[in-house]
Structures are given as C-alpha cells and as structure tokens.
Symmetry: C2
Subunit: 305 residues, 2 copies
C-alpha cells in the first residue's frame, strides 16, 4: 500500500494531485524519475556509486540504499511512471526532527547552460547559499505532544537569513524550542551534536572523505539531518542520522576534489561546533552556579571533578 | 632609488609609461593606491589586520609586513600619488621561481554590483577558478643559467587548463623543467613541497586557520609561492615562501568562515600532495631499480633500510 510520506520537508509533495514521492510500509521510498533527464541522471549515479570500489565502506552509510527502479502508478494519476526505489530514511523514526541542508556556495555546475546557471545563481544569492556555503531547504522540528511539529512554509524557508540559520541550528537541539532563539536551551546539543556518534563527528568523517575524493562533484545535494527528540527526552541516547540525498546534478570529479561541497560542509561544521561549545559553556556555568563545580560530559551530565 | 620590480609575475606592470608598483634596494615594495577605492580598501585591510589581536602570531608570517602609505612620484609620470609601502617578498631571492595562485572558486563577493559580479563570473568560468577553486594568475620558473626564466605571457596564463595547472605544479619543482610535463622529474618536490617547512605543511597550517577564522573573507586574493631553485641545486635546503597578497576585496567575515577560500585552498593542497606522493613513489622505484632498496627521506635522499 503506497502513501504520501508523512515527514517530507523539501522537494515536490505528492498532494493535491501533484507528482511526488511515495512510501510503503516496508521502509521503501519511491521517487518519480523526473522527465527532463534528472531522474535518469540520479538513477545512473546510484548505479555507478553502488558498484564503485573506490568508495570506502565507512562512507556508504551516509547514502541511502538504492533498490533500482520500478514502474508504479504516479501520484498525480498520470499513469505508470518509473520510480527510483530507495531506502526510506525517516520511516523508522516516530517523531523525527529533520533538517534538509543544501550544501555548497553554488548549486550550478560548469557544464550547465547559461540560463540554468543564471537561475541558480539568483537563488544562491537570494538565499544563504552564497554567504554561508549552504542553505536550509526544508525542516520540521518536533516540539512535543501538544505543539506537534514546527514546519515553516516554503516561502519562509527560502527567506531564511544567516541569523535565522543560526537560531534554527540551536532550536533543533533545544527542549524549549517553541519559545524562540534568545532562550533556546540547546539542552540536547551535547548528545545530538556532540559525542562520538553525534552529528559533528559524522560531519567530520564526511569532511575527511571530501578532502580526498575526486570521483564525484555533488552539486545541489542535501544533507538530511535527523533525530528523534522524544527518545532523548526519555533518557535514551539516539544515534542522530546524516544522509546525503538528491543526486540529479552529480558530475564526475575528474581528479579534482569537490571544493564547493567541502567549503560549505566546513562552514556548517563551524556553525554546529559553535552551538555545541556554547552549550558546554552554559553547562559549566550551571555546574558552577549549582555550587557543584565539575566537568560536563558529552551527554550533558555533570561529572564531579 | 626606486625601480620597476624584476620579478613581478601578475598585476599591472610599471613599464611603457604605465602605472605600477616600484621597489627600492632596502627591501620595500611600493604599490600605487588605485583610485577607484580599491587602494584605500587594501590600506584599510592592512591597518585592521596589523592591530587585530585575534590573528595568531604563527599566521602573521603568511602576510607581507606593511609600513603604511607614502606619497611618491608615480611610475607613469602623473605626479605624486599615495603608495602602499610593503615588504618586498621577492627581493632577498636571487633567482626565484614564483607562482601567483588566486584562491577561491569565485572572485566576486555578495555585496558587489551585478555588473562586477557578471564580469568576475565570466572570467571565473573561462579560467580554472570555477573548476579547480583556484587559478594561476602569473608565474616565472627559473630554468638555469642558460635558459633563464620561463615566463608565459598574460594570454597564455589566462588560458591555462586543468591539465596545464597540473603540469606547472610538477614543472615548478623539476630540475629538467624546460623539457615539459611528460618527463618532469619533480626532483625538488620532496624538499620544496614536502618536509616540515615545505609548501604542503605551510598550506596545511593556513588551512587550519581558515577552518576556524570568521574575521575576514579574502575575495580575489592570491597565494604567492616562491623558492630559489639554484640554492636547492647547490645542495642547501631553502625554505620556500608562501604569502597572501592583494587585499582590495577583503570583506568582514561576520562570524562565517571563508568557505570560498578554504575550498580552493583544499583543492590546491590536494594537487600539491599528489605531486609529492608521485615523486616519492618514483624515488622508491629508483631505489629499487638501483638495487639498493631503501626508504626515501623527505629531502629526496635514499636511506638504506
């Protein structure tokens, strides 16, 4: 039984008779192959990637598993259409908080047409892509049973400023997120951004690969970053997930590193580490103020020194 | 006594009655302040930089010393003109091989006018700036007493391809440089690119700073890379020099890293390390073929194992 994904935060949505991806209840995600060649380019990327022995095993976990393609009834009722069959990254999470972060200070590639380049460039300048080297392309933050999800609309997302991005990266890991930036407590930062399996370590592992790999240039790709806030609140330590998605504009690296992706990734890493170190500082402050001076462990506990 | 610099490889030259920089014999470099505001922006950068306590001491050595500005007779005879007074980086070298590498996959900055951005973008696409994240903006290679310098003209430099850049990075550290790429021996690579004071280590030190610093964004800046080939040939180990130059388009970082510079720098680092590891492999091969298997030290000697 196919249905519209519950937690899709960016891209075309299969609602109101429009064409968009579908999911089943066995954990697969069906993405319609776009007719202008992008779909086939993305399929070709997955095929090349899955058989490329130069990609190290520890890097493969950052990519969704691909199960090939399949003819399916399209969500807009236009008949049978080829779909890319992918691992549904989100399905196993109950109440995921998700950010879709498009990496790179340009989303166009040298081989593209002048028209396409100008269109992308305008959007890159209008958003934080040029200034930050990345932009938030979609998000949903779970804020608890009563408030549900905060899910800003497409227009709001497209007009995010540098200030907004910084706030959202704090709010993403805060328990009091509905209150807004000034007072975001970042209480989940040590366990979600920090720690040996946290977001920062995963981003650094990706960075090390991007400093070296010259196989692919990932234009207009996103990092999907997600975790389940409820399981943190309940005391368990969830492993936050990072996956690269959207490969319709991947081109061959031809012996050159993907400096555009790498630069943006380093910028995101700097933002995430600032949230993390701010949150550690405020934990230390709390320790001191509670008159129990100690050091704060990665999971946010106060360890007596 | 002011004169035209002997080893200037890029920028406006003070010849044929044109406006350009001058040097004296006490090691100072006089750069005319361009009238369109660029000169004043560069002077303002040097003033801000020299007093900025956030810049660590070990990073300052990568910037020329600035001695303020001075009114001088302009090289084009147009009368007195303000000049920026800088350390002459090249003067202490007898026969310097020099590359001027403009770093970044874009040379424009978000605050610039649409016209300026389009002009830069066209040049960035025409050169290797977009594809490599850097372009060679000028160079001279010393090839020995008889052949003198190889100094390609402005047009040739502007049409360098990725292939040319790779060849030049090999030829820059080869003893048989006049023969061309195929047979460049890269015999100086271990002592110039490698080693604890070599180009690669210096680039990595700069990279670590760029991963962290959010003070400045260096648009359209160059890395000047130079060394004296004769002193290597004579058996001494010269310390190759790296300096950042050209700061007319530096803007405030406003809490964001310079991901554009950093990405390009990482791309250059990858190219340089490839030349270095190729040269080490061929040294090991030489060791083996000479039937004296050993390991090759950083300065290119074969150490018996």
């Amino acid at each position: 039984m196919l249905k519209v994904p519950e937690h899709q935060v960016a891209g075309h949505l299969a609602i109101d008779g429009k064409l968009g991806p579908l999911v089943d209840d066995s954990g697969r995600f069906y993405k319609p192959l776009q007719g202008d060649g992008r779909g086939n380019k993305e399929l070709a990327f997955y095929e090349s990637f899955s058989s490329d022995t130069r990609v190290p095993e520890h890097i493969r976990k950052y990519f969704p598993v691909c199960y090939g393609s399949q003819l399916l009834e399209a969500s807009n009722g236009s008949g049978l259409l080829h779909h890319l069959v992918l691992q549904d990254i989100v399905s196993s999470h109950r109440n995921p908080s998700i950010m879709d972060v498009k990496i790179g200070s340009r989303t166009w590639y040298p081989e593209a047409s002048d028209n396409y380049i100008q269109k992308c460039l305008e959007k890159d300048r209008r958003t934080t892509t040029v200034s930050l080297g990345f932009r938030i392309a979609g998000l949903q933050l779970y804020e608890g049973k009563e408030s549900g999800y905060w899910r800003p609309g497409r227009r709001a997302v497209q007009s995010f400023t540098v200030y907004n991005v910084r706030s959202i990266l704090r709010r993403f890991v805060s328990s009091n997120s509905s209150i807004g930036n000034e007072s975001s407590d970042c209480s989940f930062a040590p366990s979600i951004y920090g720690g040996s399996a946290g977001i920062l370590e995963q981003l650094l592992e990706l960075k090390a690969w991007f400093e070296d790999q010259t196989i692919y240039h990932f234009h207009s790709c996103s990092l999907l970053i997600l975790f389940d806030k409820e399981s943190v609140s309940k005391g368990s330590t969830p492993v936050p997930v990072i996956k690269l998605i959207d490969f319709a504009h991947v081109v061959e690296g031809k012996g050159v590193i993907d400096h555009n992706f790498l630069g943006g990734l380093c910028s995101l890493i700097k933002f995430v580490s600032e949230v993390l170190s701010d949150s550690k500082e405020s934990l230390i402050k709390d320790c001191v103020e509670s008159e129990k001076p100690g050091i704060c462990t990665d999971n946010g506990n106060c360890q007596q020194s």
